[in-house]
């Protein structure tokens, strides 16, 4: 009987939650646009490359060609369609960004939660470790790493960026944990003699889930900027349809900063990055309100 009541109440909670989500999304159409943008990017990265052949067709008589219906963002220095390169290049960028975000969040949350909940010696050791990690400047380290590591696959790239980025999340999660562990419901859970695993997994984590989810999305943008920046600087191996390499070739090969011909080639990957960031910002805005009822403007 008790289990039936519990299940019914959890099902109705879920219903209420999704109703709440829908309400929040509906209130600002921009949030819907954000979700659509992210779905669009996810589709682009997963199914987009299937629409193009492995070796994109080229027209050597139409290098840095203008924007036309056939080539909405013109062509590059090889006479290849720029839009096709943005689409095929999204796979590497988004996959590595996703890996980065996952590693950042999983590592950062695990270390932050454990450290904040356990306190004492573990906290000291883990936080000193985190502080040390935070003092290492990311970009110079990546530049050095790129001389020995070729970052051949998106997963490798994501792994390295993720391992470099978990520090801030760990610090933030720890401070949240420190604050939550003194709250009544945690005290009560402790008083009931519930296990540490239960308290962390069932009590603390769900409370922090929205915060962690937002951090994950923001990590995606950080990872995109970092890897595109590295490819733009030319320190990572060349891959023609990578967004960063496209920017590099547009500026240093096509003279996009000097003449208009290569400008669409420069703007296309920039616009993709801008749209992706916009989508993430809008979704984070919605999540903020979904998970924080005090922000609801009802």
């Amino acid at each position: 009987m008790t289990s039936v009541i519990l299940e019914t109440s959890s099902a109705s909670l879920r219903r209420n939650f999704w109703r709440g989500v829908w309400r929040v999304m509906k209130r600002k159409p921009s949030r819907m646009a954000g979700v659509l943008i992210l779905i669009g990017f996810a589709f682009m990265a997963t199914a987009g490359p299937l629409f193009y052949p492995d070796n994109l067709p080229r027209d050597v008589n139409n290098t840095y060609g203008p924007m036309t219906w056939e080539h909405p963002f013109g062509t590059d220095g090889q006479g290849k369609d720029v839009l096709a390169q943005v689409v095929t290049g999204s796979q590497y960028v988004l996959l590595s960004a996703l890996v980065t975000a996952l590693i950042t969040v999983v590592l950062g949350t695990a270390i932050g939660l454990f450290s904040g909940f356990k306190r004492g010696r573990w906290d000291t050791v883990l936080m000193r470790l985190t502080d040390m990690k935070l003092t290492i400047p990311g970009l110079p380290l990546l530049l050095v790493l790129s001389t020995v590591w070729k970052f051949g696959s998106a997963v490798e790239m994501g792994l390295v960026l993720g391992l470099l980025n978990w520090g801030t999340v760990a610090r933030a999660v720890r401070s949240q944990t420190l604050s939550l562990r003194e709250r009544g419901f945690i005290e009560a859970a402790r008083g009931l003699g519930l296990s540490t695993g239960h308290i962390i997994g069932k009590e603390l984590l769900p409370t922090m889930a929205p915060y962690i989810a937002m951090n994950m999305l923001i990590s995606v943008t950080g990872a995109v900027y970092a890897q595109v920046g590295l490819f733009f600087l030319g320190v990572l191996p060349y891959e023609a349809d990578n967004w960063g390499v496209m920017l590099n070739l547009a500026v240093f090969g096509g003279g996009a900063m000097t003449t208009a011909a290569a400008l669409p080639y420069l703007l296309a990957p920039l616009l993709a990055i801008l749209l992706l960031t916009l989508g993430i910002v809008l979704v984070v805005d919605a999540m903020d309100e979904i998970f924080n009822p005090r922000l609801r403007e009802e």
């Binding site: 840095y64 001389t147 070739l249 240093f252 090969g253 000097t258 801008l274 916009l278």
Partner: protein, 605 residues
């Protein structure tokens, strides 16, 4: 919502700046009649305001042809490396057996501080050349074309003899291509017994080794030396430097000062090609040396009033070189197949539309020089014109098989042509990307791999880490230098004291790994490394014969597939000055200060 507004505002700014950058073009130059000649030094990107007036310092503010002078300026003639324009030397005489060169200095030349330029200045400069390891002043025992004795004949005459144990046809070039600095400013940097040390260093014992180390250390001291105020024997002397430009004023003591028209020269700072493009578009530069320019930018540069684009010979070409230690590149049919498969005209069109000519075939020689060296024989060589059927026949002859439209190795394993280039070499990268597309179109899997910078690229290449990579060849005009690029140390042959030895592939820098002896139709078995070494010492007629043999070997054996031959595309603005060298003039291969010092450049009336 505020975040959205901010993003939209940012988008607006980006769009506005994009529009303004595309609209802000073609500002015409004005200020005709100015006596300040504005240019850039193509060898010195990034002017350092704190750099010393030291011609040996990479970041120094001594600019070749302006306030830094050489004994003479090598013309880089198509076939004769020993032709020069006068510099510090007025004339020179090479002994009939090439055993010595007697140099006579300009009789009326003075340093900018009023002291005359003497033979002692030249002697000290030659001692400095030993510390910098110049070709004629190499310290390695047995080095080809090394100087043996330097004698001051009189105040204005110096005689340099060649060590005839391993003579070189380019000895005179090695001597005359030396920077000259004032002894009264620089003598304190070298010890008084420098010539004893140089003599000791040319031996083979332990004392010689110690002397060589000491001289090498002196070389570092020379590079770091700050001589203080610039003392120049060139047409200009350094007036001041700031981060945006170096200003040089006319040196009234220069021997040809009466014919030096610009009162001052301004060398603008640049750190990348884009800055040079902007200078050219604005019509700021009276001349600029070769710089890679995208087609659209080139069109805009040409539209600027007064701007003229001139083209000349550039003694260098680029080829796709193979590491024959790696399969399947050890098989000549694979190399030939690739040569047939790659459409070189397309590669050049994409990679170097303004600065190159597609290679007519692979000879190892620039096509302009090849026409001189080989004459009609050039047409008898296999042109390797783009021909997919011939490529497939060659691949089949090599035992490769085509499965599901993709070529695989004879053992059935997948084959991927891995091409390497240094990051930042945009023309090489564009070329390799195009080759990659061409190969994939025809069933050969390919990839382009970049290396962080050029020095690392060279190191890794020498270590045999790459399957294939771009390699500069045809470095003329000296015939030995031309073929040394493909049948020299990178391919296993070392030439010490006139003795040629061959290292096994993978050893002592032999990354190309050609066979020591190559069977060539019509020539039989030849050792191309030995033929190359002979180019150093034989007479002109025999040289011609050797060049033909080597071109045939390169054409048949293809250690590299010659892609395009560089064209020296330069820029001039005729609004303020006249008298510029035109298309194909050999002075296009000189620093532009040489045009001025020879009295060619005149103020526009």
């Amino acid at each position: 919502m505020k975040r959205l507004a901010a993003v939209v505002a940012l988008l607006g700014i980006a769009a506005a700046s994009a529009c303004s950058s595309s609209g802000n073009t073609n500002k015409s130059a004005s200020g005709g009649g100015s006596a300040v000649y504005t240019t850039i030094d193509g060898t010195k990107p990034g002017i350092d305001p704190n750099g010393p007036a030291n011609p040996f310092a990479p970041k120094g503010n001594s600019f070749s042809g302006y306030n830094a002078m050489k004994l003479a300026w090598a013309k880089n003639h198509l076939t004769d490396p020993n032709q020069f324009y006068p510099g510090i030397a007025e004339s020179w005489e090479v002994a009939p057996d090439n055993s010595s060169i007697t140099i006579r200095l300009q009789p009326d030349n003075k340093w900018s501080d009023g002291k005359p330029v003497t033979a002692e200045d030249v002697k000290l400069s030659l001692a400095i050349a030993y510390t910098q390891g110049s070709t004629a002043f190499a310290l390695q025992p047995g080095a080809a074309g090394a100087a043996a004795e330097v004698t001051v004949v009189d105040d204005k005459t110096v005689k340099v003899t060649q060590d005839m144990s391993n003579p070189s046809q380019t000895f005179a070039r090695g001597v005359l291509d030396t920077a000259v600095v004032p002894a009264h400013v620089w003598s304190s940097v070298l010890p008084a017994d420098i010539w004893d040390k140089i003599k000791a260093a040319r031996g083979t014992d332990a004392a010689a080794e110690a002397a060589r180390t000491e001289i090498t250390e002196l070389g570092k001291k020379i590079i770091a030396h700050n001589p203080g105020k610039d003392v120049s024997a060139g047409p200009y002397v350094l007036e001041r430097v700031n981060p945006s430009a170096a200003l040089l004023k006319k040196n009234p003591n220069f021997y040809n000062a009466a014919n030096v028209a610009p009162d001052a020269v301004q060398l603008l700072n640049y750190t990348g090609n884009e800055q040079v493009w902007n200078y050219l578009k604005a019509g700021k530069l009276d001349s600029a040396p070769f710089v890679a320019v995208p087609a659209d930018t080139m069109a805009q540069i040409k539209q600027t009033p007064g701007n003229v684009v001139v083209k000349g010979y550039s003694p260098v070409a680029v080829g796709l070189a193979f590491n024959q230690s790696k399969k399947p590149y050890d098989n000549v049919h694979v190399r030939r197949g690739l040569a047939y498969l790659i459409n070189r005209a397309e590669v050049q069109k994409i990679a170097s539309p303004e600065g190159g000519l597609p290679a007519v075939t692979t000879t190892g020689i620039h096509q302009k020089a090849a026409a001189e060296w080989l004459g009609a024989e050039l047409n008898n060589l296999e042109p390797y014109a783009h021909d997919v059927a011939k490529a497939e026949a060659e691949f089949k002859a090599a035992g490769l098989t085509k499965k599901d439209g993709k070529w695989t190795l004879p053992d059935g394993k997948p084959w991927k042509v891995s091409m390497h280039a240094p990051a930042g070499f945009s023309d090489w990268l564009a070329a390799q990307e195009n080759i990659k597309s061409q190969l994939i179109d025809n069933g050969v899997d390919a990839e382009v791999v970049t290396t962080a910078d050029f020095p690392l690229y060279q190191t890794e290449m020498a270590e045999g880490k790459y399957d294939t990579g771009f390699w500069l060849i045809a470095l003329g005009p000296a015939p030995y230098n031309i073929f040394q690029r493909i049948y020299g140390s990178a391919n296993g042959w070392t030439n010490i004291a006139g003795k040629v030895t061959h290292n096994a592939p993978g050893k002592n820098g032999n990354w190309m790994g050609s066979a020591e002896e190559i069977e060539v139709e019509g020539l039989g078995k030849v050792n191309p490394g030995e033929l190359t070494a002979k180019l150093n010492s034989v007479g002109a007629e025999e040289q011609k014969d050797l060049m033909l043999q080597l071109a045939k070997v390169a054409n048949a054996d293809l250690p590299v597939v010659q892609m395009w031959d560089y064209v020296n595309t330069q820029f001039q603005n005729h609004s303020r000055f006249t008298g510029f060298p035109g298309d194909d003039h050999d002075l296009l291969r000189q620093p532009h200060g040489v045009w001025i010092q020879l009295g060619m450049i005149k103020k526009k009336a």
